[in-house]
């Protein structure tokens, strides 16, 4: 379905309102397979809302989102599309009553129809990949924030999704744990996973992004390659934002 001239994620005329307030104004965005897109912007600019619209955790009033050609709409097909879109949340949202291993294995077991043994094997492999092989049988409450977020990344990967969405994955972490999570994300980016990342980590954006998108007041103000974006922004609002965070 995904031919070379169609993007993996297509967002067309997306508009989202909360009552009188417009959270997203007519967003149009294409994200190619293998692309790493970092979405920046001040809080309340609509960046989280935008990526939550991609897997329809957030409903919207107008427009269309397609993932690999499939329209993301309510109905029977939604769970199938969502299984192709991994999501990592700011607050981890691990299942607290399940071990790290079972958190990761749940999707493959229930959605991909794997046997318990296959699912556990895949989960163990992914936990090893994010450096948590030793912690597979611990409950989330026995893990640090950084470890929990790495489990959450493994859980998203376990579905072998076509794209991974990150909604401020390091914002709830103690500063000393941010690095370990960003390291995992960076190695994923290097391995060619398509990623859309909302973050405030500028250094990370600069190192890892193929494209930076800057949003303000529900609009995409500017986008470009990170070198240009950070060194020679075109828009006044982008300049003001970059100046503010460098002070």
């Amino acid at each position: 379905m995904n031919t070379s001239n169609t993007a993996l994620i297509q967002i067309r005329n997306l508009q989202k309102r909360y009552g009188e307030f417009t959270a997203l104004h007519d967003i149009n965005l294409d994200i190619a397979e293998g692309e790493v897109v970092v979405v920046l912007g001040p809080s309340g600019s609509g960046k989280s809302t935008l990526i939550r619209c991609i897997n329809l955790l957030e409903d919207y009033q107008q427009g269309e989102v397609r993932v690999d050609g499939q329209a993301v709409v309510r109905g029977k097909s939604l769970a199938l599309v969502r299984a192709e879109v991994g999501m990592v949340f700011q607050s981890f949202n691990l299942f607290p009553h399940l071990t790290a291993l079972r958190n990761v294995a749940l999707g493959p077991l229930r959605v991909r129809g794997m046997s318990r043994r296959q699912a556990d094997e895949r989960a163990a492999g992914l936990l090893a990949k994010v450096g948590l092989a030793e912690h597979a049988h611990k409950l989330p409450s026995q893990l640090s924030g950084g470890q929990q977020q790495r489990v959450a990344i493994a859980r998203a990967l376990a579905m072998e999704p076509k794209v991974l969405l990150f909604d401020e994955p390091t914002s709830a972490l103690d500063p000393e744990m941010v690095g370990e999570v960003l390291d995992v994300m960076q190695s994923l980016a290097r391995s060619g996973v398509t990623m859309v990342i909302v973050t405030h980590e500028m250094g990370f954006a600069r190192r890892v992004a193929d494209r930076v998108i800057f949003m303000e007041s529900g609009r995409v103000v500017e986008q470009g390659r990170p070198e240009e974006f950070f060194t020679a922004p075109r828009e006044a609002r982008t300049k003001a934002f970059l100046q503010a965070i460098h002070h």
């Binding site: 897997n55 955790l57 769970a79 199938l80 599309v81 969502r82 299984a83 192709e84 879109v85 991994g86 999501m87 949340f89 607050s91 949202n93 691990l94 299942f95 607290p96 009553h97 749940l106 999707g107 229930r110 959605v111 859980r155 998203a156 579905m159």
Partner: protein, 223 residues
């Protein structure tokens, strides 16, 4: 006759004990069946109330409100004495179980609803993001967590159901209370009633303690 002979007459109690024990068995049977039916139907009612199609949601809400409002004794009398007029003749056991389950279902539904709604939104979102369907979301993610929250109030409700079995004596069910009042009439002495009261305490006090234990454990784990 002194006070001891009147209320704590050992000979009378010994004579009444077989009747009381039979009554106790009936009471426990009534309680267990009603509790089980109330739990199962209450869970379904809670899911209907939260996630059912809109009209059914409204029906569930009305059901829950009505059966939490009506006095159990009134409902029991209606079931046992009024239903026969429309051709529905239930035994006193069936009438009592039906009444207790109908009411327990309403309370249980509210307890489960509160437990489910107490879960953070992120749990539902994480389940949705993986692509879990409704059934798996409930079975694997939501209900195991909600159950832990609702164990104390659920146990409380079970205690209430067990206590309310005593109402069965009104519809000629030979439960513990009924047996005690009959033994009292036969012996012309109230000691069997005291015996019944003690048996109720013996049955229910451990359960009441259990609720306290669950609550303490829950507080400790959520700290």
């Amino acid at each position: 006759m002194n006070l001891i002979d009147t209320f704590f007459n050992w000979t009378v109690l010994q004579g009444a004990l077989p009747m009381l024990m039979k009554g106790l068995v009936t009471t426990i049977l009534l309680g267990v069946v009603s509790i089980f039916l109330g739990l199962a139907s209450g869970l379904l009612m809670a899911l209907l109330r939260l996630y059912g199609p809109l009209p059914l949601r409204a029906v569930a809400r009305v059901y829950i409100d009505v059966f939490r409002s009506i006095p159990i004794l009134v409902l029991l009398v209606l079931v046992y004495y009024a239903l026969p007029f429309v051709g529905v003749r239930l035994s006193s056991f069936a009438s009592t179980v039906l009444t207790l389950s109908l009411v327990s279902c309403a309370y249980t539904a509210e307890i489960f609803r509160a437990g489910i709604q107490a879960l953070p939104r992120g749990q539902f979102e994480a389940a949705e993001a993986i692509g879990l369907n409704f059934f798996c979301t409930m079975r694997d993610v939501v209900l195991p967590q909600a159950f832990r929250i609702v164990v104390p109030p659920l146990t409380s409700n079970c205690i209430n159901v067990l206590k309310d079995t005593a109402l069965a004596s009104v519809v000629a069910m030979p439960d513990l209370l009924k047996q005690a009042t009959q033994a009292q009439a036969l012996a012309a002495n109230p000691t069997p009633l005291i015996g019944a009261a003690l048996l109720y305490l013996l049955l229910l006090l451990p359960l009441v303690r259990l609720v306290g234990y669950f609550e303490a454990r829950h507080r400790a784990s959520s700290r």
